[in-house]
Symmetry: C2
Subunit: 382 residues, 2 copies
């Protein structure tokens, strides 16, 4: 057995947890915080709520909300300027993966200087980051607990995958109430992103017993609660369960890393302004079919976690049930099932494949992947 490491932030979970953001910053010694959020968060008033809470805790607050979905290098650099101009000493991210990843990227440069492109890859961050508090408002990215930040390089039209223990926030705040402002389509796509995190972490070559329990529980929660969560904004039990699933999938993939779905999804998201969760939803069953050969036993366990009856089946037969389950789930909640339905065609496949094969997430995919394999997978998913 190899040595496994498991790192998590302090986690504050539950209805009303968002009200602890100010006190959390104070505990970390902050006095002037940069609050990074996107427009959706501001519209849903979560941004305002966080600002108010921080001000009540006697913190000076500057809001930076110039962030788009799939956050860009230029946005990060603008955020750094705002951080420095206002002499901030801590970063609070509020929102989904885009806002949280941007907040982390701003924090990197705030203390390490340079350009966000300098930090692509694994363990490229030398100096400690300012205190980081992340408030997750979508059950999806897991960024609130992860050692990842994904930023678009607008010049090279690719996503930079930045991986470092320094990116694990000090405190992660997960408040299921914030999920009540997500519409059905976003609930569906971010929910399948959670499932993708859990599945890729569970079959990752870097999986450990500590990540396995989190991944398995996340798979079982998504299987039971994603459909009712998509069906109703006010089903509190489902929102709580999906918030927990997202958190546990995040703990799993932050420590076990991901696989080919994310490597390929980053390659698409760097070129086309498409939603990360929807891309993953399309790619997941194809990559699972490809990976089944590498991990039939784990696939069988996943089928069981999804509630499938695997009595008397071989691991390969049971594993196939996990794949068909994912297809059924995607159909039920209405996420796209082909890349062409999202506007992609053949032409971008060669360049996207070259980028995907070099993504940090590809290293931990359980089955070896050549560039021909990636091209073929993209073609199957078209």
């Amino acid at each position: 057995m190899h040595i496994s490491k498991f790192v998590t932030p302090e986690i504050i979970f539950g209805d009303g947890a968002v009200d602890q953001v100010g006190e959390s910053c104070r505990r970390l010694g902050a006095q002037k915080v940069l609050i990074v959020c996107d427009d959706g968060v501001m519209h849903a008033n979560w941004g305002e709520k966080v600002v108010k809470n921080c001000q009540d805790a006697n913190l000076a607050c500057t809001v930076f909300s110039d962030i788009t979905s799939n956050p860009k290098d230029k946005e990060v650099h603008r955020g750094v300027k705002v951080y420095l101009d206002n002499e901030c000493d801590a970063v609070v991210g509020v929102g989904g993966g885009s806002a949280l990843d941007a907040a982390k990227a701003i924090a990197i440069i705030a203390t390490n200087g340079g350009n966000i492109h300098d930090y692509e890859g694994v363990d490229k961050i030398d100096l400690p980051l300012p205190p980081l508090v992340m408030v997750s408002t979508t059950a999806g990215s897991g960024s609130e607990v992860s050692q990842f930040s994904i930023i678009v390089d607008t010049g090279l039209k690719k996503k930079l995958t930045i991986v470092s223990k320094s990116l694990i926030p000090d405190i992660a705040i997960v408040d299921p109430i914030t999920l009540s402002t997500k519409d059905a389509a976003l609930t569906a796509s971010t929910g399948l992103d959670v499932l993708t995190h859990a599945i890729e972490a569970y079959v990752s070559v870097a999986a450990t017993p500590l990540t396995d329990v989190q991944a398995k529980n996340a798979i079982s929660l998504v299987s039971e609660y994603l459909r009712p969560s998509v069906a109703s904004t006010s089903n509190k039990e489902a929102k709580n369960a999906m918030a927990m699933a997202s958190l546990q999938a995040g703990l799993a993939f932050s420590n076990a890393i991901l696989g080919a779905v994310h490597a390929m999804s980053h390659a698409i998201g760097g070129r086309f302004s498409l939603e990360h969760g929807e891309i993953n939803a399309v790619l997941l069953p194809y990559v699972m079919e490809y990976n089944l050969l590498a991990a039939p036993k784990q696939f069988a366990v996943m089928a069981e976690m999804m509630g499938e009856n695997i009595n008397g089946l071989t691991a390969m037969e049971a594993g196939k049930k996990a794949i068909s389950y994912v297809r059924k789930l995607a159909r039920d909640i209405g996420t796209p099932t082909t890349l062409s339905a999202m506007g992609l065609d053949e032409s971008a496949i060669p360049v996207m494949s070259q980028i995907a094969i070099k993504d940090a997430c590809m290293i931990t995919n359980p089955r070896d992947v050549t560039i021909r394999d990636v091209e073929e997978l993209f073609r199957l998913a078209l």
Copy 2:
């Protein structure tokens, strides 16, 4: 749903993990470390190994091994003197719960001053502790990940239960290889301590979904692997599984706290030099019988985790199977089944009951407990 917090140290787990102790201290900025361990650890050469590894990392090392089982206030104060005399700046604990709890207690006073008695109870520690690295060599205490330190007040003949997030180490190192030097009796009693942690955390009134996954997995690992681990010092699969069970039970109880077994066990351990794991082994089934009324559903889940067939049973019926399972397990591995077999009699019950009822662990017991109830439980277990 209330708000739940979940805090863990960085965890380094696996064969050979003990070789990362020096580098771990360095990462935390240490230069002169106090290494706290007990005689057993020194005899098994784990203490020497840790010293060597720290010296190789250019750390000045002072060893303090004047620690007994159920560590005493006086030993802690002597350790503090050694820490200060040698101008140490970090504490490394190596061993089972006694050494690790003593190491934490020394760290408290090293920066907060005063007397260890000042810190009894919850959240009494104001100033940050020096960097803390814990190397666990028994699959038992969970102290390497927990916010607990238990120290004997030799004057009042009771155990001080100290609970604070400050006591969560910075880095926990768990190396299953170290378990190969434990004899069968110690493997059995520390293994039942693990089971007690998991069960008390699972039915605690402060349990959360994040602690539940850890507790359930620990119960299932103990049920599968404790017997073979007691049977053989060289069964690596069993040692790995028990090390993981101990770690996960520790994560569960550190965040969900414990219950009446530990409250009563602390009361005994403060007066009589008996082994904590053995006391728990005796008390556990009696307290489970008492608590069943409060949490039949959780007891039924535990029975399932233990591999019992609960098909068609009510929660109460299934829950009883969890209790009988614990009795069978204890019989198989030969831990004591009565307090009288350990040398206790009726006479200490009144005073022990008064102490137990005020222990911090009693607060989270799922069923209300009066002093009469505690007396009756002690009597049943005699």
